[in-house]
Symmetry: C2
Subunit: 409 residues, 2 copies
Amino acid sequence: MFGQLGEDAKKKTVLVYGHLGRFLTNLVSKGIIVCNVQPAAKDDGWRTEPFTLIEKDGKLFGRGASDDKGPVLSWLHAIEMLQKHKIDIPVNVKFCFEAMEESGSLGLEELLTRNKDKFLAGVDFTCISDSYWLGTTKPCLTHGLRGICSFNVEVTGIQQDLHSGVFGGVVHEPLADLIWVMSQLTTVDNRIAIPGIYDDVAPMSEEEHKLYETIDFSVKEFRESVGAKKLPTEDKKTLLIRRWREPCLSIHGIEGAFSGTGEKTVIPSKVIGKFSIRIVPHMKPEKVNKMVIDYLKELWKKRGSPNTFTPTPGHDALPWLADTNDANFKAGARAMKIVHGVDPDYIREGCSIPITLTFQELTGKSVLLLPLGAADDMAHSQNEKMNKVNYVQGVKTLLTYLLELGKAH
Amino acid sequence: MFGQLGEDAKKKTVLVYGHLGRFLTNLVSKGIIVCNVQPAAKDDGWRTEPFTLIEKDGKLFGRGASDDKGPVLSWLHAIEMLQKHKIDIPVNVKFCFEAMEESGSLGLEELLTRNKDKFLAGVDFTCISDSYWLGTTKPCLTHGLRGICSFNVEVTGIQQDLHSGVFGGVVHEPLADLIWVMSQLTTVDNRIAIPGIYDDVAPMSEEEHKLYETIDFSVKEFRESVGAKKLPTEDKKTLLIRRWREPCLSIHGIEGAFSGTGEKTVIPSKVIGKFSIRIVPHMKPEKVNKMVIDYLKELWKKRGSPNTFTPTPGHDALPWLADTNDANFKAGARAMKIVHGVDPDYIREGCSIPITLTFQELTGKSVLLLPLGAADDMAHSQNEKMNKVNYVQGVKTLLTYLLELGKAH
C-alpha cells in the first residue's frame, strides 16, 4: 500500500515503512500463508484474545501491538497532530505499508523494484519503526540487523502414519532420523556445529569494541526478562556480540509429528524439521545455504537410513549495517533527545527486516531504524504488548523527527 | 457400558468386549482427552471425512472402521441374525463396550474390579475383536500382545516463546536440548539404545521357533504395504519376533514446538517430547519405567544444560500371552474354519489391549482375541478402513463362534 503527503519540490522526501493487518486464517487452512503479524491463538498461552487490543496496567496487549501495528498507527497520529495544530510538515512524506513482512515480504521487493523510478523516485531518507529498544527505559537508534537463512528438512519413508504397536520395531521411523539429524546442528551452549559457519563473520574494529563497552545494558535484567536460570554467556559484551553480530541457529519445530496434548501412539510417516540461521556481515545466503545443505547431506550419509531425506533452503535475507553519522540518523537522534531528554544508544538488532536493505539499494539513500517499543514487548511470542508510554512518546518522537528532518541540508 | 443377553444357568457365559463412539473434540480443547478411537482430521491426509463412513471399492472408510467400531457392530449384527432366524443362542452373552480404550481405558479397570463378583460373576469365556489378521487373506487367532510404557519428557527454561532473531544465540533453547536427548533413544535400525532394556525378554522355546518358521507371512508384501524401501530386517522370522516378542521404541512427536505449515521464527519455551516403549514377557512396567527415567536423567547430566528437565512415565500396560489349547480358542478356530474354509494362524500382536489382561485376571478364565480386520486396515492412521468382505465374514464368524462355544464342556 503506497501513500503520499506533500509534493513540494523544495522539500526533502522521507519514506515511511511499516507492516499491519491481521493473520488471514481462512487462507492458512488452504495451505497458503498470508500474514503480516506472527500467528497467534489463545491456546498458545495468551492471557487475552490475541486479536483484540486490551489495555491493562499501562500496557496495550495484542498480536502486532509492537510488531508492527502500533508503530504504524503512531505515524498516523504524529501526522494527525501536526495537521491539527496547523504545523507545516517540512518534508514530503511517502508511505509504504505492507501485509507480508512476517512471511518474507513476498512480492514487495518486486513491486518496489518496478517503482524505483516512480514511487521511490526522489526519496531522500527512509525511516522504519519495526524494531525495539535494547532495554525498557532508554531510547535507541538501530544501525544493524542480522539476516536469515531458513531450512526445511523432510524425512519420509513409509506411505502413511502407522500404529506404533503394530509396526513398531520393524520400520525405519522418519521422526527418529530427523531428530538425530537436528541433534547435530548446535552445541549445548547454542553454538552452531556446522564447520566453517563462523569463518565469514566480519572482524571487529577498535571503535566497535569501545561501543560495546559503554553501551547501557544489564545482563541480569535481560536474563530475568527471558526467565532463564543461566545464559550461554553472562558477559555483557560477549552477549551483545552474539546477539547482534554473530550467527546463531534455532530449531523452531516439526511438521507432521504428533503435537497435541495427551498421547497418540503413532509412527509419523512424513516429518519436516524447521530451523533457521541468523546471518551477519560478511556472510552470504548462497554460501550459507550451500554449507548447511552440504552438512545436512553429510549427516544423512553418516546416519545411513534407507528413508528419503530432502533438505531445502527456505526464505533468506541479507544482514544490514548503516552509517550512524548521516543526516537521517542525526535527525532521529535529535528527536529522541528532545522527547526523552537523553541521547539514544546506537544498537543493532538480532532479527531480520529484509526490506531495510531493499530500500537502501533502491533509493541509494540512508535508511534509519527508529524503534518505539521496549525490549520486553514479546514480539512473535505470547502476550505481545506495547507500553502506553512508549506509544505516546513514540508519536511525539516521530513528529519531532519529521520537523528535524526538515532542517537537514 | 454393560449389557446382558440370556441368564440361563445351564448355559456357559461369554463376555464380549469392544470400544466405540467418537472423538470428543470439545473436551480436547479444554485439555481433557476423551476418545474411544484415535484422533483424526481431514488435514492429516484423509481422502474422505474421517468421521463419516464412506463405502468405496469394497472398503468401508472412516476413523474406527476397523479399530473398533466395525467389530462392535459385527457383534450386534451376528446376534440380530441369530434372533431373526430364531436360532437359540447356546450361551449367555454379556457385553462390555467402552469409550476410553485409546486413552488407556481410564476408569474401566476400577469399574470391572468393583464388578468382579457382580457383572463379571459366572463369565466362562471372554472374546475381544480388537486386533488384525497378520496379512490380508488368511484368518488368525491372536494369543499374545505387547504391553506399553509411555513417556513424556518436558524441557523448559525460558518463561515464554521468544523471537529467534531477537534472542537467538543468547539463550539455551529447550527444543535443542529435547531433540538431543531424544536422539539418544534408538539406533538407526530402530533398536533401543537404553542399556539392559532387552535383558528381561523371555527366551524362545523350540516349539515357538517352529511356529515362526511355518507361519504364513510375506515380508515383501508387508514392506510394500507400509511403503518402505527397506526394513531393518528382511528375514521373516526375525521380523515377526521383533514385531511380537521384542520391545521397541517409537517417538511420536513434540508438544509446544511449531508444528504448522510455513515458517515461524520462534524459540519455543516449553516442549514435551513423547515416546513409548512396547514391552513383552517378562518385562515389568515398573522396572522399565525406572530404567528409562534413570537413562534419561543420565543423558540430561551428560547434556549439561541449565534448562529444567522433567521426564515422567505416562500410562503403561502389561504384555499378555494365552494358552491356545483351551475351549475358547478351539471354538474360535472352528468358527474360522467353517466360515473361511481354512485353519487360522496363531499369531501375536505388537500392540496393547490392556483390558485383555484385566479380563483374564478378574474372570480367572480364558480370553480369546478373535480379529476380524485385515493387516492393511491402517488403525490409528489416515484412511482407516475395513474391507466389506471382512465385515460380512466377521459377522458370520462371530455367530458361528457363539454356536461352537455352546458345545464346549
